[in-house]
């Protein structure tokens, strides 16, 4: 039997061996049975029903971008600028012009000239609302559904529900996540097994966030490169480690965890190849680089993230989160919005166009959202305060009806009034598009079945194609 062992397999045979399941010890039906029970928790799993989307790219806008200046057209607000409304401070009409775009005629402000060209792909959810107008709580609630307790994040739930499709990359990747506002909690797994937590790639740079726009964060995965060994030498070393592990497996006879260890080294070794490849844009042609705005300092940072996201989506990563901060515009709205929207407009448009030309938009769900929106009245003359009662998120691709406005706020944009969408509903809808029933995706912790949406959440059937 020992002679059957693929003792020093090449990378390819190792891949085949792992792809066909725990091939090292074709022991007996028993061993296979036990192995089946304990197979990798990341193995792709069947969804609850046929999914519209296979993967998610979440464009996370930390700080609370203004909805009335971007995607929620409020002519009455413009008309009543300067008036005192409802006892608040003076109303501040958007300094930017809204025009209708595409066949659908979606109104989008002049801050997003490139994105506006994709109006027919966008579903603007104008009636979002969340529980609190404070950054930390709202940001954590957007990610985990709950700001009071430590709960698993949206990405972790998705990975728990579906597993992943690329065995050379982690299934949930978070690009340059911010440290504050809950930090790792926002991509954590809480009581779900740690394997479902997001792998952070690159770190938000505090200075860059303060400056706004900022330099491109360099995406990295920790310990991805050996500082002393060439790949050839490391392969020799890994073959030796594998031989020690196989010796152990032989002595233990049946020990699925050791098989898991052997597998994880092979995946790690592959990741060393795959991750730098995914993170290396040199193979991207000039027109693509231009599309994402990599040639312009203003758009380079977010463009890099968007292109990374596309490359990871293509490579089979299940959930990818992309971050842009600095949306907390209590003052200096007119300059800061130009700068911030300018930084993301072209890259997002590029991402949508690129996915479409690769025929990937149909099963890639793009979600854009901040933790809340901003007030229609002014603050500090040229700024806006936090507003949790009404704001806008949008979705595109992945089975979402484009060219649609769903729900609405009042005449000024203070609060959602029609078809209100709470964070829980938003979560339920994202899971639904991925083929998961948010009421059935549960995990038992301390005696209770927990859900991302707790006891809430309604799927927005009307936005699904």
């Amino acid at each position: 039997m020992n002679s059957d062992l693929p003792f020093l397999p090449s990378r390819r045979t190792a891949l085949q061996a792992t792809a066909s399941g725990f091939g090292y010890m074709a022991f007996s039906a028993l061993s296979t049975m036990q192995a089946e029970q304990q197979k990798s928790p990341l193995t792709a799993k069947a969804p609850h029903f046929t999914p519209k989307a296979k993967r998610v790219i979440f464009l996370c806008m930390q700080g609370g971008p203004s909805h009335v200046d971007t995607f929620d057209y409020k002519p009455q607000l413009t008309a009543d600028t300067g008036k005192n409304a409802k006892g608040f401070a003076k109303l501040l009409g958007s300094p930017w012009e809204f025009k209708q775009h595409g066949e659908s005629g979606l109104p989008i402000s002049s801050l997003f000239p490139n994105l506006a060209e994709h109006a027919d792909d966008l579903c603007l959810i104008n009636s979002m609302h969340t529980d609190l107008p404070n950054h930390p709580q709202a940001f954590v609630q957007m990610h985990t559904g709950n700001f009071q307790f430590v709960r698993p994040s949206l990405g972790a739930w998705t990975l728990y529900g579906l597993g992943t499709e690329n065995d050379s990359l982690p299934g949930f990747i978070n690009l340059a996540p911010p440290n504050g506002n809950g930090g790792a909690q926002n991509y954590g797994s809480a009581f779900l097994p740690a394997v479902y937590q997001g792998t952070p790639v690159g770190q938000a740079q505090r200075g860059a966030l303060l400056r706004g726009g900022g330099a491109a964060p360099t995406p990295t995965i920790s310990n991805i490169k050996n500082s002393k060994l060439s790949p050839e030498l490391q392969r020799v070393q890994l073959d030796y480690i594998k031989s020690l592990n196989i010796e152990k497996l032989k002595r233990d006879r049946v020990h699925p965890e050791i098989e898991g260890v052997i597998e994880s080294f092979e995946l790690a070794f592959r990741m060393q190849d795959e991750v730098p490849t995914v993170l290396d844009f040199n193979s991207e042609p000039e027109n693509i680089r231009e599309m994402y705005g990599l040639n312009d300092r203003a758009t380079q940072g977010f463009g890099t993230q968007c292109l990374t996201a596309r490359r990871m989506a293509e490579a089979g990563v299940r959930f990818i989160e992309v971050n842009q901060g600095n949306w907390d515009h209590h003052r200096n709205l007119s300059n800061a919005m130009e700068q911030n929207c300018g930084a993301i407009d072209k890259p997002i448009a590029g991402l949508l166009a690129d996915l479409k030309q690769r025929d990937m938009l149909k099963d890639t769900l793009i979600v854009w959202s901040g933790e809340f929106g901003r007030t229609p009245h002014g603050q500090n003359g040229n700024g806006r305060d936090h507003n949790n009662k009404g704001y806008t998120s949008w979705m595109a691709g992945g089975g979402v009806n484009g060219g649609q406005r769903y729900g609405s706020t009042d005449e000024y944009g203070y609060q959602a009034i029609e078809n209100k969408v709470h964070t829980h509903d938003w979560h339920a809808t994202i899971l639904h598009l991925m083929g998961l029933d948010h009421t059935k995706l549960t995990y038992n912790y301390a005696g209770r079945d927990f859900r991302l949406t707790d006891v809430h959440g309604h799927v927005l059937k009307d936005i699904i194609s």
Binding site: L30, V150, P170, L238, D252
Partner: protein
Amino acid sequence: MNRFFAVLLAATVSANAQEMSMTQSDEFSEEQLNFFESKIRPVLVKNCYKCHAKEGDKIKGGLLLDTRDGSIRGGDSGSALTPGNAEESLIYIAMTYEDSSLEMPPKTKLPNHVLADFKKWIDMGAPDPRRSADADKPAEKYSSTIDIEKGRKEHWAYQVPTKHEVPQTKKADWAKNEIDQFVLASLEKNELAPNSDTDARTFLRRVYYDLIGLPPSIAATEAFVKAWDLDPDKATANAVDELLASERFGERWGRHWLDVARYAESSGRESNATFPHAWRYRDYVIDAFNDDKPFDQFVVEQVAGDLLQFETDEQQAEQLVATGFLTIGTKGLNERNPRQFRFDMIDEQIDTATKAVLATTVACARCHDHKFDPIPMSDYYAMAGIFLSSHTHFGSPRTAQNRNSTSLIELPGNVPRAGEKLPLGELVDLQARNDMIAKQLRETEEKVREARASGDTDAAQRLRLQSLNNINQSGIVKSNLEAFDNDGNRKPLAMAMQDGDTLYDSPILVRGEIENATKETVPRGFVQVIQTNDERPIPETQSGRLQMARWMTSPENPMTSRVFVNRTWHWLFGQGLVTSVDNFGTTGEKPTHPELLDQLAVRFIEMEWSVKSLIKEIVTSRTYRMNSDYDEAKFLTDPDNKQLWRTNKRRIDAESFRDATLAVSGQIDLERPQGSIVAAQGNGFVGRAGAISSVEDYLTNSNFSNRSVYVPVIRDMLPDSLQLFDFADPSLVLGARETTTVPSQALFLMNSNFLQTNAEAMSNLLTNELNLRGGKLGYTAFHLCYSRPPTEEEGRKTKAYFERFISTAKESGLNEAEATKLALHTFCQSLMSSAEFRYVN
């Protein structure tokens, strides 16, 4: 000593505090009402009624200040008034202008003497004759349908454990003690036979990792093998005694309890402020296990150590530090509503205390009756009253975003300090910085007033931001300065509990919402379904924490002993007799060996709650000595090994792995570090300027080689060596860790600085210090890492490895010496990275 009396005194004075509870009181003296009429009402009418009265122009934020009820009920931001506590009343906070997002009245801050009047008024209970004209909101009602008596009868865990007759077994010569008889009887009932004993080396490695979290030395292994050959029982007993007596034992078992106590040195959540004094609790826990402090006393000290008698200052200090248990939880420091903050903190305390000690999920009854266990909301709020009547001293700098900071407790007597004396120059600098910021703040605030007066609102806003910045800096610097006395000595500060000056019974918060308090309060008390006959009523002059601690540790409490015995079993076998170690409720798992669990629970109390005696009884059993071999027939009958036909194969945990790596490389420093890195860094907010930015970098750059229990635990910023290997999330009570196998672990083993550095050190140890070469080197390396010599096959594989590695290295341009050196390093790293290094059989 004085502090104890102060507490007693305060408690006596507040005996009539009930009437100042959060609901309502009608009894105010004429003098008090005159104060309201002359000092308060005119201010309210002039400055507040315009926006916050029924007859006003508009009602902003849903808040009505024209009645006492309305003020207490509050508006969108929650209750505006907490009678008896100005610092917790939003109306007062808004008037102080300390929170930029909540400044009232909006245009100008009221003069300081008015603020002082309001503080005085609220602190005296907010006497106020203004009644609601109509009961515009129906009183919140609470009723429960839970039948506690029935619930108690129907669930196994609520029955007091009793001793059972030790069962007879067919196999007569196997059992070494009672444990074995229960296990064997159950195996025989299921037609299973126990595996045979393991070998000496495997056993020693197992018991070393289980008891002290480190591998045995080569000499200890060889000596044990000889002793085992002569008399395995005696060899085992001696080894166990030696390990239990080692200080390494407390570091290992203290860390287990720190998982349950969700120990961390920062507040976590959004703000993540450092807790520079949390390490005292860590050291207390380690010492308690080393001293074999009776477990009941250990619990009482953690819950109510501040209320216990003491004979020396040092004893008092120790007992105060123990209550750190209740203070180190996660906190949403940026919560604006102090009352919300208070109830969230209390929830965390109830949750931790009841899960850790009782494996009962009491906190599920915060918003509604417990859905599964017979715990009504009224039980939850009975406990909430106990915490509401206590002060939680957790520190943290007071900033614009953190209005919830508290003082710390200065310990009496001769206690260790977090570090050396601050050099005079640095102290002077710190003082100067403190003064400078204070001065800046005063100046900025003056400018704000000027700008407001002149009507330049833009400038006022800008300056206001600047002053907030000053407030934040000042908060951090001030809290750091306060950690030193005038000579630069570190003050012996601690996080701890004390009874409050005012004692409260809590109302029930319907749906858990602070605005929806019932009119009636619940007398302070415990969870009724967990009954003991020796319960003592809570005196009117005390919070009830001490009585709660006594209730928890009563020999008649059906949970406490069982829960800890089960945790111990889990930590020794990798799965508890009840697998849901933190949940003994109806949704938890049933015990696999109910009689054995009972027997151990009773034995534990008989042995005067001695943890070391309990562990010794378990690890000297035959059950613990079985081998972990796979057996097809037994596996088919019992795949999950519920009946304990073998020992489970287990991966060592994150700390043991890190410590073992440092141990075999000769790098480990077994001294306890003074304080903690977090203490040295002082107060601040994690990730922001001035506080720790990366524990990983810090450990690497400082060559931190102390045991892992001393690695700083900062929430949401764990070092790779712990985080990647399933360290317990320090935000949650976790008696059982996950074991994941993910590629980021492999990447760490292959490429991390930590592994490479230690591999080099091990290689140097073998070649330079031990002067070993060739086969002897290989033999020693294997023995160090695996507690056994290499097999012949491993010897051949290793020889082949060196040949292949060196030739490949030479092909890539290295010379013979370089190639050999690198081969040695990678050989050591391979052993550390291999599965056998981190698995025990």
